[in-house]
Symmetry: C2
Subunit: 230 residues, 2 copies
DNA sequence: GTCTATATTGTGATAGAC
DNA sequence: GTCTATCACAATATAGAC
């Protein structure tokens, strides 16, 4: 059987999302984006269905295409939005002009609070980045703000300087800034990413998990600082 | 338009996978499972295509159904296999009759070695568990071996006892066994799960990432033990 | 046990009325 | 701007020859 070689027209949105002309448009577009966010977070890009998003937004499927043209673009918009709420805080906190210990405290507090209210974000982000690593590029450009090629190395330099000062004081063991950062965010993010597993393995329901995180909020700063003592 | 309410016959495999009768069968079934593993690890259950698995196994698509009946069952087989190579080591190591410090050393070494050779496993597992939490049940029954409802609490009791001894010695600060376990596996697993992100953010290629892990293998035991000192 | 061909349904996307 | 109806193709699954 011969496949018809007719060209499929490239999809074209009648509107360009992101620049609402009227209040009505803005409201609808926001509702769709919110619904898309919920559905993509639950099922991932590949597992999500446009129909489910439409239903959750209380509109029909054609309207999704009117605003966002394709599933791919809608999912990119969601990814962008979620990532841009998570990563800037990391860069800003670690790059701020404050002592190292304070950076640790702030980062733990910000992330545990934030993720407690967005339980699905870590699993979603890890999943998306794992299956669509090309999106990391987009993440960097859109989510950090400034040019990451200069911001990240500058950040690492700053941390290295702060660590070296403390090492000279004798109040800290030497550690590479990358290892420092990754240890810190591992301890903050992983419990959320692995929550479905932990919930069952340790028999935690939602309330127990939240108590677990609350306890962590108290203990993690000491745990982490102790790990760095000479 | 009325949907025809004809029943679809429930799919039925002519063979039951897992009990090969001949060497030939075993070889083919293994090739399919290996190909499925590779494809599901890359794309996830929802993103994977049966055609791609067939191509990677060097057979055609109908054969996948002959051996595994449905995509769902094939993906469950892969999940089961991957999970059963990761979780028993955790339970066995933490439950072994050895000192706490040795458990820490062993677990770090086992996991960093193992995951270095299976870079996609953490991202895949977190993704699947996030999008299909019902599979956690399956994970526990199949992957741990014994009945988890008795094994896990026993494990935590053992750890608690060991921790309390060290606290009485004055060689360790008090910490809940759950927090202990989660801190440890966070530090081991998260860098692999977040690898696509870290690679770009820190500009690491594959070789640089492996060097990063090698360094971690040396530093993490000290880091973790230091975190527990009083 | 393995293949080709095909049935059947799912799903993203579009046309066109209102 | 929003809807209904429908298209076109992708993807899982099955039938049946070899």
């Amino acid at each position: 059987m011969i496949k018809p070689d007719r060209q499929r027209k490239p999809p074209r949105a009648r509107r360009v999302a992101g620049r609402p002309a009227t209040a009505k448009e803005a409201a609808t577009e926001e509702r769709i984006l919110g619904a898309a966010r919920a559905v993509f977070l639950r099922h991932g890009t590949a597992g999500a269905r446009m129909q489910e998003i439409a239903a959750e937004a209380g509109v029909n499927q054609a309207l999704l295409h009117y605003y966002f043209r394709t599933k791919e673009r809608l999912s990119a918009a969601v990814f962008q939005q979620v990532a841009s709420r998570i990563f800037p805080a990391l860069v800003q906190t670690l790059g701020a002009g404050i002592p190292l210990d304070e950076k640790i405290d702030r980062l733990i507090e910000i992330y545990l609070d934030n993720l407690s209210q967005n339980l699905f974000v870590p699993g979603y982000l890890i999943s998306e980045l794992h299956h669509h690593p090309e999106r990391v590029q987009q993440l960097l450009s859109g989510a950090i703000g400034a040019d990451p090629r200069t911001v990240i190395p500058a950040l690492l330099k700053t941390l290295e300087r702060q660590i070296n000062e403390r090492v000279r004081d004798g109040t800290m063991r030497p550690i590479k800034p990358q290892q420092f950062v990754i240890n810190l965010i591992s301890l903050c993010i992983f419990p959320f990413a692995a929550r479905p597993m932990l919930s069952i393995v340790f028999g935690m329901d939602d309330a127990a998990f939240m108590r677990f995180i609350e306890q962590r909020k108290k203990e993690l700063p000491d745990f982490f600082r102790a790990a760095l003592r000479p």
